[in-house]
């Protein structure tokens, strides 16, 4: 590893939570605006997290502490691997480890809300993970590599080759962002269903750590989205802005759905969209 890679990694680890928090703040402000309200300050997520860090640590058992830290480490590692321009599959596996540890922490306590939230979180993971793998395979078909540096070297934006797979990726983004209609395990914006589900039994500083890890996750998924238009900065920014704006609008206009609907809809639509996109790719190459 040379000096440039190391400085990239350090920058990414420092800047990712700041970007994630700012994005969450802008998100809350825009949502309030859509609902005819004024909304909290842009820096609100940072106030929330600092306040939570200053609260009394309260746990039910040791597993929670361990799992929370493993989730944070896995999320940071994912962002670091992305900055190192490592393998997409490797990033995917590390991300899964983090998500699984959060669920294990929620399952380690006897509270029914936490248990139910954890089960739903597992179903959400079951929903988005095959689709993410299909997206990565699609990228491999176009660029011939899972390595991010090889993908960045590709001379055309891969969005032009994989427009439908990008839609599939936004399903995963919506689930990871915990936004409607897929926010069945835990949701933002003070929705109270399931008493915040998988997050019920985490409190104080541990909840703050989960929130920071969540910011890392958001940044990672947006970074994967940005691979689709990596040739020009303007195209990249426009693509990400349009995607995130669409996420917020969908969050505001759709109700929360059941897990059965989510699983059948996302798999049916996602897998058929990816099938069409792959077929298009092959039709072009002949």
């Amino acid at each position: 590893m040379d000096f440039k890679t190391i400085s990239f990694v350090i920058l990414a680890i420092i800047l990712a939570p700041l970007a994630g928090g700012l994005l969450a703040g802008i998100d809350r402000r825009l949502t309030a605006w859509f609902q005819g309200r004024f909304g909290p300050p842009i820096l609100q997520p940072f106030y929330d997290v600092i306040k939570l860090l200053g609260k009394e640590p309260q746990v039910v058992n040791y597993w929670q502490i361990f799992c929370v830290h493993m989730y944070l480490v896995a999320s940071i590692l994912c962002v670091a691997l992305f900055a190192m321009q490592a393998d997409l599959l490797m990033i995917f596996f590390v991300m899964t480890i983090g998500a699984v540890f959060m669920v294990v922490g929620a399952l380690a306590v006897p509270s029914p809300y936490s248990q139910l939230g954890a089960q739903r979180e597992l179903i959400q993971m079951l929903t988005y993970e095959p689709l993410l793998i299909i997206v990565f395979v699609g990228i491999y078909f176009v660029t011939g590599s899972f390595k991010i540096d090889a993908i960045l070297d590709y001379e055309r934006p891969i969005f032009l080759m994989l427009p439908l797979l990008y839609l599939v990726l936004t399903f995963a983004l919506t689930i990871k962002l915990r936004k409607s209609p897929f926010d069945i395990s835990a949701s933002h914006h003070a929705h109270q269903e399931l008493v915040r589900g998988v997050l019920t039994e985490y409190s104080g500083p541990y909840l703050a750590i989960l929130e920071i890890a969540h910011w890392y996750d958001i940044v990672l998924i947006l970074a994967i989205c940005s691979l689709f238009w990596s040739t020009s900065w303007i195209g990249l920014v426009i693509l990400l802005a349009v995607t995130y704006m669409a996420e917020i609008i969908i969050d505001n206009v759709t109700p929360r759905m059941t897990w059965k609907w989510m699983l059948t809809y996302v798999w049916a639509v996602g897998i058929s969209l990816s099938f069409f996109n792959m077929a298009l790719l092959y039709a072009k190459s002949f």
Binding site: A32, G39, P40, K51, K55, E56, P110
Partner: protein
């Protein structure tokens, strides 16, 4: 150290999460609490969120009188909130028992069971008064330190495990 302390105090004031408990109220005050969340008052602009989980909350908002049955629930919710925390009693009933104070089953105001920081009068209290009450509570909450726990975490966890293991002895229905 001063910088971080100030940052923490500012954050506490800017991000109070409420949990609302209806302790036998007539719903008059509850509706006024919920009215604060509507676009007219929009308390989220002060960072105030209505959270359904005592483990995430900073401020306990209680409306209604206390009776021997729900006193246990109220105490339980209060104990589940991590320090630092504040309590606001809403309405005539929450502050003193109101017109029901001499009923045979009524203990009185919230302060008969848990320590109350702010009393918001009114029957029902106006949303403006409730928001004022939250601001007052924040002033008290700002400099409050978590109480020093004399028992180590291990002892706490052991006690919690024993409590969980003996759960069947406490169940009323079988």
């Amino acid at each position: 150290m001063g910088f971080f302390q100030d940052l923490l105090h500012t954050s506490r004031v800017k991000s109070p999460w409420l949990i609302h408990f209806d302790c036998g109220s007539c719903n008059g005050c509850d509706i006024e609490v919920l009215a604060c969340l509507t676009p007219v008052y929009d308390v989220e602009r002060f960072g105030i969120l209505n959270i359904g989980n005592p483990k995430h909350a900073d401020i306990l908002v209680v409306s209604g009188t206390v009776n021997p049955r729900n006193a246990k629930a109220l105490k339980n919710i209060y104990d589940q909130m991590p320090d630092p925390k504040a309590v606001i009693a809403i309405g005539a009933c929450g502050t003193s028992g109101g017109v029901f104070r001499e009923a045979y089953n009524v203990l009185g105001g919230i302060d008969k069971v848990i320590p109350v920081d702010v009393y918001v009068p009114g029957c029902p209290s106006k949303p403006e008064a409730i928001i004022d009450g939250v601001v007052l509570a924040l002033e008290k909450l700002k400099k409050r330190r978590p109480e020093k726990d004399t028992e180590p975490l291990v002892a706490d966890l052991k006690k919690a495990r024993e409590f969980y293991e003996n759960r069947e002895d406490r169940q009323v229905t079988r």
